[in-house]
Amino acid sequence: MALPKAVYVHIPFCEQICHYCDFNKVYLKGQPIEEYVKACEKEMKEAVSQFPYDHIETVYIGGGTPSSLSSQQLEPLLDSINQVFSLQKPREYTFEINPGNISDEKLSLLKSAGVNRLSIGAQAFQEDLLKKIGRAHDEKDIYRTIESARRMGFENISIDLMFGLPGQSVANFIESIEKSLELEIPHFSAYSLKVEEKTVFHQLQRKGKLPLPPEDDEVAMYDVLINMLTEQNYHHYEISNFSKNGYESLHNLTYWNNEEYYGIGAGAHGYVSGQRYANVGPIKKYINNVHSQGRPLLESHVVSTAEKMEEEMFLGLRKLEGVSISQFQNRFNKDPFEIFGNNIKRLKSEGLLKVEDDRISLTKNGLFVANEVFEKFLL
């Protein structure tokens, strides 16, 4: 297997916790951020010494809210990433920011560290909706942030949108898409809300107080999203992702192409040397374990060939171009039809999957029920 070319770094701190979020994150105040950044550096060094890289092409700093760190806290983090992974103009270096909490100073620091892509968690453009989902920003913050990002020389900008939110109507969502389009940015991600356990939304749902839109509305939202963005020449390249040509997220394609990556930080997940691993989540435990054990693993698992084949399919099919049959053959010395033939046939006949030339991919109908399709690729 090829050496990892991607690095994910997790910053689990937030100034405000969103009602839907179940990622590993904590409220920022009083957290040992400097110690955390040091621990990340140590973990990177340890990971790299155990599993070397040849050349890193993409870095993604996500969270949590990476932009909630101060410049003083960010600087050593960015320095150590540069140093440990010998970054030389990586093809893509993404940093996640929340609208509203990013200063020019921080942006210029990011710029000089080599960050060349910003992912902005806009989610929606309606104040009441933003409030209802627990976001700290408002509509103006979105414009302000994009404006300063551009002024500081970032043109590869992505924004996240959400649909299927409580109280959100199809018209609301169309408005968000229209406002996003006016920004003329090259990349969009649009996620439908999934109510996860241990979130405010889950609590509300249990009490019957979460007025989610009906399934038909959600379907309409996804449908209208695809239509509006493709009409404006955005390439729908992954279930939830759209971009102008050449602006596909290279880092996220690492996951969908079933390739390896380092995962650094509390609760981060990685895939190196044929092993998928997860780090411990709690901040203090992470810091302690890094110092006592080097790598703060919660679990790691050697991925079997069968699992690799499954993942090749259910990750690859997230891309609209789907899975390459020849690449599958190269990787596994087997034909995907030999392994999954019956299910491919069945899904084809149900109109959810298509096979064209070297590609197996979802049909438009398949996109809406992708999980039903993916499930059929578990052996």
């Binding site: 999934k194 997940h269 993942e311």
Partner: protein, 608 residues
């Protein structure tokens, strides 16, 4: 022991059981009694000792009876021998309860100080009254903030007619009132009567299969004495055995040289089959036999039948093994292989009633780890064909074509519903709706009424008990006995999923009720069967005629949008969970049908 010693011992014996509704604290009270009578040391004490099986503990019901011998030093300075006999608590096991009560002279009636009397309790109190037991009311959980002991006492007086002036106010949880209960047992529960030197009469009130010792028979000695080495005869089955061990439970089994009048304990006699030691049968001695058996023996026959199928067809042999093992312990379980087009290979099984069926199903799933599909329960129909032949049908899908049928007969039961008189109207309404024929009504006292109806057994099996409970606030209790077959206008109703007939969903219904029931079933199936990738019509038909229809809409959206920061294992887990969920479904035609759907034809609220 000589006769005098045996008689002295007899005068010190007190046999009693505990009658309580689920959750009203029976097990906790039993634990406290075991503690206070030093039956076992703290270390041996497993919480809620009497409920041995996990399943019982979880469902809060006791399936297997147990009997414990305890010694109690009373305030009068004398030492007494207590036998505490545990009883199951559901109408399916009414007969077992009545036999274990027949092994007692007294019963503690436990009523929750906050909730008052419940139907189950009432049914068992009536059984205890039938057996002429001394009933000692105990108001439990008096420590609860919502406790209303005076109101509950009044309720006991009003509904059952018992004198509650001496009722003990107790909290089993906090150990309040336990000693007073034990003293009342000494004072009020009569000592056994019976001649220790007379011909042996021992009542079988339970039995248990043990792979090393054969059947362990739970007995109460009514007359005579039993010793190891003695030849015994089961009076109903005529089978003879030689006693190998006799003893009591403390609660550990402890061997004894003899069991005599009043004793409650066990014996083993190399009995290979629980069917040879039937509950209610009388054991006598071969050399000095009793002239007649104890009253009240009834051979229990299965009344309710259903198909049991493994979800995974590879589990068929394991399912057969499981049934074989369970049968060793359960004389009333019957099974034979059958096949279904929709479900493949399985077994048609016979049970005493619905709870018995559910328990067996759950034990197979839990103890043998086999996922099951249970079809809706059926009774045995007698079908007379136009050519004069008679067929017995216990599986609706086997019902011959309507043109070949001369007439159909179905089993009827005599159902006796006991209820406070405020609910007479409600009970009669249900019985009428269930095709019942009114027989009579008797006032037992100013408040209690027994209403008797003839009702088709299939209606009882359907949801009679649930309806009865809900429309009488749980106060009604009922018992039923089979009275024979009667001709009825019955038809087979088929269910079609996606235009394909699903044999496992066929039911036999009365023609006049077919439309209503068809509608309820298709609506219920629509609710229970998850959306599929295509629209699925659900239809009920009689012959070729569609009588009800609903549609399961196609699934429209199921997609994991989020990226989860490269957390692939999480995606995998979600997909695996989704797949696992479907594994518990059966693919019928192209439609994934969950297990519950096959029972749907039974569980429903027609009033909706």
């Amino acid at each position: 022991m000589n006769k005098e010693e045996r008689l002295k011992r007899r005068s010190k014996i007190r046999n009693f059981s505990i009658i309580a509704h689920i959750d009203h604290g029976k097990s906790t009270l039993a634990d406290r009694i075991l503690e206070q009578t030093s039956a076992l040391t703290q270390r041996e004490m497993k919480d809620q000792m009497l409920d041995a099986m996990d399943l019982e503990r979880e469902r809060g019901i006791t399936i297997k009876l147990n009997a414990v011998q305890l010694t109690y030093k009373a305030k009068d300075g004398e030492e007494y021998i207590f036998h505490l006999i545990d009883t199951p608590g559901h109408v399916d096991f009414t007969y077992e309860v009545s036999r274990s009560l027949a092994a007692c002279e007294g019963a503690l009636l436990i009523v929750d100080a906050a909730q008052g009397i419940e139907a189950q309790t009432l049914a068992n109190v009536y059984l205890a009254l039938d057996n002429d037991l001394e009933i000692l009311p105990v108001v439990n959980k008096i420590d609860l903030p919502s406790a209303e002991p005076e109101r509950v006492k009044q309720e006991v007086e009003d509904i059952i007619g018992l004198d509650t002036s001496d009722a003990v106010l107790a909290s089993a949880k906090n150990g309040i009132g336990i000693e007073e209960i034990l003293e009342q047992v000494v004072e009020k529960v009569p000592a056994p009567s019976g001649d220790p030197e007379g011909p042996l009469k021992a009542l079988i009130f339970d039995s248990l299969y043990d792979p090393y010792r054969g059947v362990i028979v739970y007995i109460r000695i009514i007359e005579g004495t039993i010793k190891p080495g003695e030849k015994i005869r089961m009076m109903a089955t005529g089978k003879e055995f030689e006693v190998i061990e006799a003893g009591v439970f403390t609660p550990k089994p402890v061997k004894r040289d003899e069991l005599t009048v009043g004793d409650v304990g066990f014996l083993t006699a190399s009995i290979k089959n629980v069917g040879d030691s039937r509950v209610g049968d009388t054991i006598t001695s071969v050399n000095n036999p009793a002239s007649e058996a104890l009253a009240g023996y009834r051979k229990m026959n299965p009344m309710v039948f259903c198909g049991l199928y493994p979800v995974d067809t590879n589990d068929y042999n394991d399912l057969r093994d499981a049934l074989e093992k369970l049968e060793l312990n359960d004389a009333s379980l019957q099974y034979e292989p059958e096949t279904s087009q929709a479900l493949g290979f399985g077994f048609r099984c016979g049970f005493l009633g619905l709870l018995h069926m559910e328990i067996i199903q759950e034990r197979i799933e839990r103890e043998f780890n086999i996922d099951l599909i249970t079809t809706a329960p059926s009774v045995i129909y007698r079908v007379t064909l136009t050519n004069g032949e008679e067929e017995r049908i216990d599986n609706p899908s086997k019902m011959p074509d309507a043109q070949q049928i001369e007439f159909v007969e179905e089993p009827y039961v005599k159902a006796s519903v006991m209820v406070p008189n405020d609910y007479v109207g409600a009970v009669m309404e249900i019985c009428q709706k269930k095709r019942g024929n009114y027989l009579d009504m008797k006032y037992l006292d100013a408040n209690r009424v027994t209403i008797t109806y003839e009702i088709p057994l299939s209606e009882i099996v359907y949801d009679f008990f649930d309806q009865l409970k809900s429309s009488t606030k749980g106060y009604a209790s009922f018992d039923y006995e089979l009275i024979g077959y009667k001709q009825s206008k019955l038809v087979k109703m088929d269910i079609l999923l996606n235009a394909e007939k699903v044999d496992a969903l066929s039911v036999i219904v009365h023609r006049d009720f077919a439309y209503d029931r068809g509608k309820v079933i298709v609506d219920k199936l629509k609710e229970l069967i998850p959306r599929q990738q295509f629209e699925v019509p659900v239809q009920a038909s009689i012959g070729q005629k569609i009588i009800a229809r609903s549609t399961i809409k196609a699934i429209r959206k199921n997609v994991l949008a989020k990226c989860y920061g490269g957390d692939i294992s999480r995606k995998r887990k979600l997909l695996e969970k989704q797949k696992e969920g479907k594994k518990r479904m059966k693919s019928v035609g192209n439609v994934e049908v969950p297990q519950e759907a096959f029972m749907a034809v039974l569980r429903m609220d027609e009033s909706k």
